[in-house]
């Protein structure tokens, strides 16, 4: 039988290998926030006739209308995405009309969003609250569902740690990818993150459930062996489920269109991490806890067990 629990520190190390660079990227580059969170406007236009004007001219036109901070990005062969301060629809109409007359083009507005600055900050704040609330709700539910097992709260806490691991992986990877691909963190990213949380716990509980069952069957076996046994027993299920979900997500990413690609890629990263953490982190943490291994972490040479 594969011994996953024995190599637990290797798997913890692999997790850190992903999380630490991500956190460093987050510290250095930060998270580029979309207008959903920081306020502002986004105008996605398509040029039906005429040539697409160079971004500098569009920026200049925006500046003449009092929007000095616009960022222009090309989208496809005949489109532009312009980000700026929040504006009213009248102001937007004026900008579009002016662009049409000045550049001699016919413009179709594909998408327009405008968010007041205070709203965005409020959403970001409440989102953090929502994550905390979800964690608390799940912790309470798991502690309740595992009430028959000794130290039931450990299962809840371990599931939350695995969940935070997935949040860290998703946020870290996002920080790195966003920096190179010019992606922005929007409310869709937030939705994906919250889904990952649900999925992560979903996956972890399946393994924990098996531990709960096996603890009753194999009363004489050491805790460590029972945990490893449970992980291996649920391994096929974990991998098969992950495969089907990842396959559907992959088709969404490939064929689902540009609008949700960022969302789907975030989910892909999160679902992968969720399965990884439920196999290699959540249950081994239970063993670390049971053995109180942290007592030997910082004085290994002294307390190394003999043999």
């Amino acid at each position: 039988m594969i011994d996953i629990v024995k190599r637990r520190y290797l798997f913890f190390g692999i997790s850190l290998l992903v999380i630490i660079p991500g956190m460093i990227a987050l510290l250095i580059w930060g998270m580029p926030l979309a207008i959903d969170f920081k306020g502002g406007s986004l105008l996605d236009i398509r040029f039906d006739t005429g040539t697409v004007p160079p971004p500098s001219q569009v920026t200049a036109l925006y500046a003449e209308n009092g929007f000095s901070d616009s960022i222009v990005q090309t989208s496809g062969t005949n489109g532009l995405i312009i980000r700026s301060l929040d504006m009213t629809d009248a102001q937007r109409n004026q900008l579009v009309t002016e662009m049409e007359s000045r550049f001699g083009v016919k413009i179709t507005v594909q998408r327009f969003e405008s968010v007041g600055p205070s709203v965005g900050q409020e959403v970001a704040k409440r989102a953090a609250g929502a994550v905390g609330l979800a964690a608390l709700g799940i912790l309470i539910y798991i502690t309740y569902a595992f009430r028959g097992v000794s130290n039931a709260y450990r299962y809840g806490v371990s599931a939350i740690i695995a969940m935070l691991h997935d949040v860290a992986v998703v946020v870290g990877v996002e920080a790195i990818v966003a920096h190179f691909f010019k992606w922005e963190v929007d409310s869709l990213f937030l939705t994906a993150l919250l889904t990952v949380i649900g999925f992560s716990v979903h996956d972890t509980i399946v393994v924990f459930d098996r531990i709960r069952e096996n603890l009753n069957i194999y009363r004489r076996l050491p805790y460590e062996t029972v945990v490893n046994h449970s992980i291996v027993q649920t391994l096929v299920r974990s991998i098969n489920t992950q495969l089907t979900v990842m396959l559907t997500l992959l088709t969404l990413a490939l064929f689902g269109g540009i609008t949700i690609r960022h969302f789907v890629v975030t989910l892909l990263v999160g679902v992968f991490s969720g399965t990884y953490s439920s196999i290699f982190n959540a249950s081994p943490i239970l063993v670390v806890w049971e053995n109180r291994e942290w007592r030997s972490w910082f004085r290994r040479k002294v307390s190394q067990p003999v043999g």
Partner: protein, 484 residues
């Protein structure tokens, strides 16, 4: 086995009902008392359209009366409906915001203009100035002494009834356009330009408005007031016959009718040499422009129809491919049970889609993603069960025992894991609802429905189907069909 077959009947009934609802041109249900039509609602990211978040335009510290907000929401809804947009959504978001969604609206600029035009209607006392002076103020912005969300004009004026209001107001008002702040001694509201007029009543007291023709072929606007408004109007018009009662929308003077006789019955007409169009426009403003709380657009989103249709087409293709891959995987890996599970998945898709049409759930792109994810959850339940069945078979149980044991042992896993997903959905839904983030709301709703239906199909439908198959084949001859 009779137990298994008993379940077949409700499954068949549910399936037939789901298919009936799913039919593209479903005739709907029209029994006695029930009147329902079914249609798929597509979000504005799929059909294009306009979404706007409106917020009460009062200081953040001011408490807002929930019933006032409710009235404002109703009025915005009326306005939006008058636009003729089908499936428009007007919903409260938190205590001081309203979400307006106009899927399929092809002229976003016009739609938003109408929503924004939905202004605050006031009747103001213009007795202090002459008709000519009042005429010069039409279509200009003026100041009134009504403070949004704080003072109730009707309460302000009613106690002052015995003593006429005119003397305290008139001497102080100067009419020169470049009026100085000194002209506002009687008012508590700071004034930038021009005099401040007293608000007699807001549009909140109007109950009915209509356009009537006069014997001379002209048009007048007739209106009716509620009991409170009737009292205010009776007292005010009796004291001000021959003077001007200004009608102001969003502080802009739109009409300056003069009071011909005292209006005591709460019914009156506004005369003013209107054309048919002018009279109708004024009637509309009186009818729908009477917001108890002023609103401002804080966020707006417009999606062009082509982008929406493109997204819809692409996600449908992706869904089809994704679905086929999952179906193939299940059939190849789990063989006969896999094929049975695929049938159950088909039932799952039919039932979930029926729920979407029944509730109805507005399908957005993330909503479709949520649906796809819930397919994953549905597959997971089956995978959990089949893995358990395989284990039981390996430990030497008969197939029938293995199936029942597998189901019973997999159930706690399925229950607990799905429950935690539902907890997350609930919090997401609350989050989306509070902020008018309909994207988040749609996602959590579709995921939650999917998770619940998937539990039903995995536990009830797959199991019944599998037993049904077992009764008709000889397992010992076909053990390989189970991948054992």
């Amino acid at each position: 086995m009779s137990r298994t077959y008993r379940l077949l009947i409700p499954i068949a009934v549910i399936l037939l009902l789901a298919i009936y609802i799913d039919l593209p041109k479903s005739p709907g249900i029209h029994f006695i008392g029930i009147n329902r039509d079914f249609s798929t609602r597509l979000g504005l990211d799929l059909v294009g359209g306009v979404q706007a978040l409106l917020e009460a335009d009062v200081p953040a510290t001011t408490a807002i009366n929930p019933s006032d907000m409710g009235v404002a929401e109703k009025i915005v809804e009326n306005r939006v409906n008058a636009l003729g947009v089908s499936e428009a959504v007007v919903q409260p978001a938190g205590s001081r915001r309203i979400v307006v969604e106009l899927p399929g609206e092809t002229d976003p600029a016009k739609a938003l203009a109408v929503i924004k035009q939905t202004g605050l209607l006031e009747f103001i006392d213009m007795s202090s100035i002459s008709t000519q002076q009042a005429a010069s103020l039409v279509h200009t912005k003026i100041n009134t002494d009504w403070v949004p969300g704080v003072s109730q004009p009707s309460e302000n004026t009613s106690p002052a009834l015995p003593t006429p209001i005119i003397p305290t107001l008139t001497p102080e008002i100067s009419l020169t356009p470049s009026a100085t702040p000194s002209s506002t001694i009687t008012s508590t509201v700071p004034v930038q330009t021009g005099p401040t007029f007293h608000t007699v009543m807001t549009g909140a007291d109007i109950t009915n408005v209509g356009v009537q023709t006069t014997t001379g072929g002209g048009y007048v606007v007739a209106f009716e007031l509620n009991s409170e408004g009737t009292q205010i109007f009776k007292d005010f018009t009796s004291a001000h016959v021959g003077q001007i009662l200004g009608i102001v929308l969003d502080k802009e003077v739109i009409s300056i009718p003069s009071i011909n006789t005292a209006i005591t019955q709460g019914k009156g007409v506004i005369e003013g040499k209107f054309t048919s169009d002018e009279a109708n426009a004024l009637a509309l403003q009186l009818k729908y422009g009477s917001l108890p709380i002023p609103l401002k657009v804080i966020t707006s989103e417009t999606v062009g129809p082509t982008l929406g249709q493109d997204s819809l087409r692409k996600s449908l293709i992706a869904g089809l491919i994704g679905g086929s891959v999952v179906v193939l995987f299940m059939a190849l890996y789990y063989r006969l049970p896999g094929i049975v599970a695929d049938l159950a998945l088909l039932c799952y898709a039919l039932i979930t889609y029926a729920f979407f049409r029944l509730i109805p759930v507005t399908l957005t792109l993330p909503g479709i993603a949520g649906f796809v994810l819930s397919v994953g959850v549905a597959v997971d339940a089956n995978v959990l069960i089949f893995e358990r069945i395989k284990e039981e078979l390996h430990s030497g149980r008969s197939l029938r025992q293995a199936i029942d044991l597998g189901w019973n042992r997999a159930w706690p896993s399925i229950r607990d894991s799905n429950f935690s997903t539902l907890i997350t959905c609930l919090i997401l839904f609350w989050f989306g609802n509070t902020f008018g983030a309909s994207i988040v709301k749609g996602f959590s709703l579709t995921l939650a429905i999917g998770v619940m239906v998937s539990m039903f199909t995995a536990i009830v439908v797959t199991r019944t189907f599998l037993h049904l198959v077992l009764d008709n084949i000889n397992f010992t001859q076909h053990a390989r069909w189970f991948g054992v």
